[in-house]
Symmetry: C2
Subunit: 370 residues, 2 copies
């Protein structure tokens, strides 16, 4: 075989998430409700759809490697310079580049135990030592993360606000205060994939002079364009420029670039989508309570539902939902894995979930009794 | 600043190619003919266009991380197993993953002097030592590459067949013979981006049992979908599986997946596009000869034209074309940089090129005389 690097030779092939399509193929049956991957069933702005359809006619051309138009629009939206933004192939792609820039064997990285698996996948992939901090009452704990970063001399700390898989959030004061406590050469990557769905006061003010923080945002969630793969990072100019050392300059889909630009401009549609997401969160929470379960308050486009027992029980509930053609997921790690995680769905999706959940619960309880 | 790895700290920000859009912004004028990036002006199959337009409606969903349908279709097309194929974000993306798997500081990698810059960009990005071999009469020299690989104990050798930027090609016998001479733990990455445009007898037979070769192909060239970012690699199952250790599983655009699948199925359209490309190659060659210049015989979707003097002269010709709103590129390295490189264009593109070339030549000669 070829001479893999020592690092890659010992890595195992892994995937952070199994896709719903793979499950459908294994089940030989399609899902009736796709509310497991925190996608937005409400889809993108019709203007973004139109822009993408039109851009297919230009798909023979590579996308602009500078992402110029989208960068400028984002810069204007945030009142910052385009030098403070990098556009990439989703937050996943950008996290990969960032980890590559900072992590090598024997470098410590801090995250919450059970936080976003794709980040951990990248850290493992570059040989970093992942150090985890437990959630505090289902919330990521910014101060504990920073304290651990100091303790293990970490180069990088990951915090999602709002958090995935729990949907909980920290106030901007808490996050900003933790940032002030960061060791001077430690970078906080603040994953704000769900920020558009969060209540006011969740996002820190954007301060691109601060070299300690890089924020990541996306068109995959509230904007409803997960399949297009467009994310962006905001931060200090020097850090942003470092992405140009490693990024795949011609990696962006031209259709997606056009879609993101149009989506960004349609503020009205975004508000509308965020409203629908909030309503769906309430719907999911009501369904949970109707079954005697406790929903975890969420600022994201999904709700974690505490199934009231351990991970094994929640897993049975999850399996019961999947058997009933409802695609959902659940946290991987205890004690968060006592929950199942339901993405905002259409009314029809929630109706299906509403009828399936009591059955799945009943079946899970019977299994325990059995 | 954050603690970059030693490797990334010393890398400089660079881009393998400046995009035509960036040039248009600098010039404050759009190009009238876009025949510089080896895109296909003939575009994708109408069926692929339709599939992409339809898939925009599903863009709220992540793409299938297993690329199942496209893998199966490719496997069936080649009569191999889907385990022998990896789909990725263009050949550029796949080259990045491959280099990551094999290259680290002090690992030697062999390529031709002046060959595909994006490959060299990845090798530099992972700290490899790039060793180059000169072209032999404008052809990459497979045996010289392999001999150098042996000499410097390389882990990886890059060969494009047909070659970019020259468009020349090696017969399958030559390549197969060179492969037989590879050191047993050295991998040849055979970039076949342009293979669909090449004459019969250019592609080696596909032998997925051979652990010494990985082939890369794309929907960016003859299929006319450069902006969609879909490439694939073919090779031994174990090597293909290693991509699952490092790839961005959710990195593919869902619209692009759908487009590639439809494009692959439309064999008739591909033949037609390849015919148009061949006709355009002839057109470009005729125009060159009409100006007393020598076109380099090409098996790709472009033609390198020998401007008959040195790199400085060819650069002036290139600049003359760009001033006349014709976007073209040229090889970066001597002696190939005595050429300019013209991608297959529409009849209208070639008409513009035909009228601009004599003027650009004349202006370049006057500069020399002056």
């Amino acid at each position: 075989m070829p001479r893999f690097t020592d690092l890659v030779a010992v890595l195992s092939a892994s995937v952070p998430f199994v896709g719903p399509e793979a499950q459908e193929r294994a089940r030989k049956r399609t899902f009736k409700a796709r509310i497991g991957a925190n996608e937005s069933v409400f889809g993108p702005s019709p203007k973004a759809l139109r822009a993408m359809k039109e851009a297919t006619e230009e798909v023979w051309q590579y996308g602009d490697p500078e992402n110029h138009d989208l960068l400028r629009a984002l810069a204007s939206h945030y009142g910052i310079k385009s030098e403070n933004i990098v556009v990439g192939e989703g937050i996943d792609g950008l996290l990969g580049y960032l980890v590559r820039m900072l992590v090598k064997p024997r470098v410590s990285v801090v995250t919450s135990r059970g936080a976003y698996p794709t980040f951990s996948y990248h850290v493992a992939g570059y040989g970093g030592t992942l150090v985890t901090v437990p959630y505090t009452e289902d919330h990521e704990n910014p101060h504990a993360l920073v304290a651990m970063a100091r303790k293990v001399n970490a180069s990088l700390v990951y915090l999602a606000n709002p958090d995935n898989p729990m949907g909980t959030w920290n106030s901007f004061e808490t996050v900003a205060d933790a940032v002030r406590c960061l060791p001077h050469d430690c970078l906080l990557v603040l994953d704000e994939a769900y920020i558009d769905c969060a209540p006011p006061g969740t996002a820190m003010e954007i301060d691109v002079k601060n070299r300690s923080v890089i924020r990541m945002r996306t068109f995959s969630k509230a904007y409803g364009m997960a399949g297009a793969r467009v994310g962006y990072a905001i931060g200090h100019e020097e850090l942003m420029n470092a992405f140009n050392k490693v990024r795949n300059h011609f990696g962006m889909c031209r259709i997606s670039q056009a879609g993101a630009l149009a989506a960004l401009r349609d503020r009205e549609y975004l508000s509308e989508a965020v409203g629908k997401i909030a309503a769906a969160r309430k719907g999911i929470s009501d369904i949970a309570r109707g079954c005697g379960l406790e929903p975890v308050p969420s600022a994201a486009n999904f709700v974690a539902i505490d199934c009231g027992a351990d991970g094994a029980f929640a897993k049975r509930v999850l399996e019961g939902l999947i058997e009933r053609d409802i695609f959902v997921r659940m946290p991987f790690v205890s004690p968060q894995n006592r929950c199942i995680r339901i993405s905002a769905g259409t009314d029809a999706d929630l109706e299906l979930f509403k009828s399936a959940l009591p059955q799945a619960l009943e079946a899970a309880r019977l299994q325990v009794a059995g």
